[in-house]
């Protein structure tokens, strides 16, 4: 189910810069890393000193974003697989793997790399490699 998507270097660089700005804002005011899997795991107990309200507010902010975008510039282009089994398996792997590995694309891939963390560099290399191999198998071996 591969769909051609246009290469958007300018919009993507601007989008990336906004993500970076968000990460800096969160560190400057709240002293927190902008890692989504960490923020998600903070809405689960135990709550000792983990700033649940801050985590919840961040998540609400994320969900407000496509609505704001929609109001200003129209629908958000999106192609999501409707294969229920595939999406359940993928969701379990993403949820478990990011928390077990202490980070995702944002925590390791953005904040960790920006801190020149060796752990994050390794983690980012591993999830990128696993992603490349998975898509190769999915599209070019299994032909999904």
């Amino acid at each position: 189910m591969s769909v051609i998507t246009p290469f958007t270097p300018i919009a993507s660089t601007i989008g990336g810069a906004l993500i970076g700005f968000s990460a800096v804002l969160l560190m400057l005011f709240n002293g927190r890393i902008a890692g989504i899997s960490g923020i998600l795991s903070r809405i689960f107990p135990p709550y000792a000193g983990s700033d649940v309200m801050g985590a919840a507010a961040f998540i609400v902010g994320l969900m407000a974003a496509p609505l704001c975008y929609w109001a200003v510039s129209g629908p958000v282009p999106q192609t999501v697989s409707g294969d229920v089994v595939l999406m359940v398996v993928a969701g379990l792997l993403v949820g478990f793997g990011t928390v077990y590995g202490s980070g995702c694309t944002s925590g390791h891939g953005v904040c960790g790399l920006a801190r020149l963390s060796r752990r994050s560099l390794l983690a980012t290399a591993v999830f990128m490699a696993a992603g490349f191999v998975t898509v190769f198998i999915l599209r070019h071996v299994m032909g999904v």
């Binding site: 700005f21 968000s22 969900m63």
Partner: protein, 150 residues
């Protein structure tokens, strides 16, 4: 209250960055990962933009002794390379490749109510909960070291 407002604004800006950068579209993410097919390098530009801004911003911010609304910076303290750091990202990468979703874009996409998203997000939350259970069992490390990097 300022702390919670900042969290909301940071989430909103982060989500807008994902949407504007095209990362709320799983097809675009999968195309980045499809070097031998419909390759779209946009994700690399999102990463580069985000890392450069964060690198510079963190250099300035972390010179201070404390954040503006908190008593200390919550920075990851772990430095050792362990098996968890291979297993976790490997599992995550497989799920990421299968769906084109990582946690941020999946949550951000919820209001767009695609069927796949509505299935993916609850499964992801179950995965998060399972990992928390597994991590709490063997050692009683604090959350700052187990979940703190993210």
């Amino acid at each position: 209250m300022l702390r919670i407002t900042i969290s909301f604004i940071a989430g909103l800006v982060f989500g807008l960055g994902l949407v504007i950068g095209g990362m709320a579209n799983p097809a675009k993410v999968q195309n980045f990962l499809d070097l031998f097919g419909t390759f779209d390098p946009s994700l690399a530009f999102v990463m580069a933009g985000a890392v450069v801004v964060t690198f510079i911003g963190y250099r300035l911010v972390l010179r201070e002794h404390a954040p503006l609304c908190g008593e200390r910076f919550h920075l990851p303290t772990a430095t050792e390379i362990d098996r968890r750091l291979i297993i976790g990202p490997a599992l995550f990468g497989v799920g990421w490749g299968l769906s084109g979703f990582c946690p941020g874009p999946a949550i951000t996409s919820l209001p767009l109510v695609a069927k796949g998203t509505l299935v993916f997000v609850p499964a992801m939350l179950v995965g998060v909960g399972l990992a928390r259970l597994v991590l709490q069992r063997p050692t009683t490390k604090t959350l700052e070291t187990t979940g703190g990097t993210t």
